[in-house]
Symmetry: C2
Subunit: 123 residues, 2 copies
DNA sequence: ATACAATGTAGAGTAAACTCTATGTCAAGA
DNA sequence: TCTTGACATAGAGTTTACTCTACATTGTAT
């Protein structure tokens, strides 16, 4: 299937301005039809989903850009891309660990508040 | 103990510009000495650590601002603050779950790459 | 006495990632 | 034929959270 930018925008939940911005930043390169309109494919959909995953895990656009560049070069860059992902996996892991630590402290604070409120209510 | 902005900056790993910015945004209100210099206390240190925790878990400055406002009003706002933390706890939990999901997908992708690379190497 | 280092204020500048505006083209329906 | 509505480009504007600059003041070491 092929999609116009409007359709693709709905499928991806990314505004059409954002899609054009991503193209401008070379993250994605949709084809064009005879009228110069963008033609997105299902492959683009998979790719955008992956971009969103990288973004959601804190990878900056610049780095995704680099990944996209390697991807465009195809097979010879496979291992370099894998190394990027492995390194990203590491930071993601650290991120999760830190958030869990924060969660623990937050829980402690909430418990503290709970005790405070109880002791005031009892007065 | 009391600290000058320079000392406090080192203790907190926040630049002095950032500390003044936080003050401007009413996140923290250090006392002043006779010469109008800022005087940070150990209580400020604990508070800044908590601010950092909220920031690191994705709470925007505006919301921390609101929390700080309630905190300044003292005891009567205890339960409202606790509710904020409970609600934040929920989003933090969702955040962690989503990152774990992303991690899973990332691992799958890495494994896929590994197999690709192996099959090419064997050629 | 004077130079220096840290501090003060006010306001400008920066970076990232969008988001919007102005203006123009073009195919399809009334 | 005329008018929408979706799309195109180029470039300006926005938001968040800093970060820096310019300039004034002040306590301390030489």
């Amino acid at each position: 299937m092929e999609y116009s930018i409007g359709e693709f925008s709905k499928l991806t939940n990314l505004g059409i301005h954002t899609l054009r911005y991503y193209e401008h930043e070379h993250l994605i390169t949709p084809g064009r039809n005879s009228n110069n309109r963008r033609c997105y494919t299902d492959k683009d959909l998979t790719w955008i989903d992956f971009i969103k995953r990288l973004k959601d895990t804190g990878m900056p656009i610049k780095e995704i850009q680099h990944y996209a560049e390697l991807r465009a070069k195809g097979e010879p860059t496979l291992s370099e891309r894998m190394e990027m992902l492995i390194s990203h996996r590491k930071t993601l892991n650290e991120q999760i660990n830190q958030l869990q630590e924060h969660m623990k402290k937050l829980d402690e604070k909430i418990e503290f508040y709970q005790r405070q409120i109880e002791s005031i209510t009892r007065e």
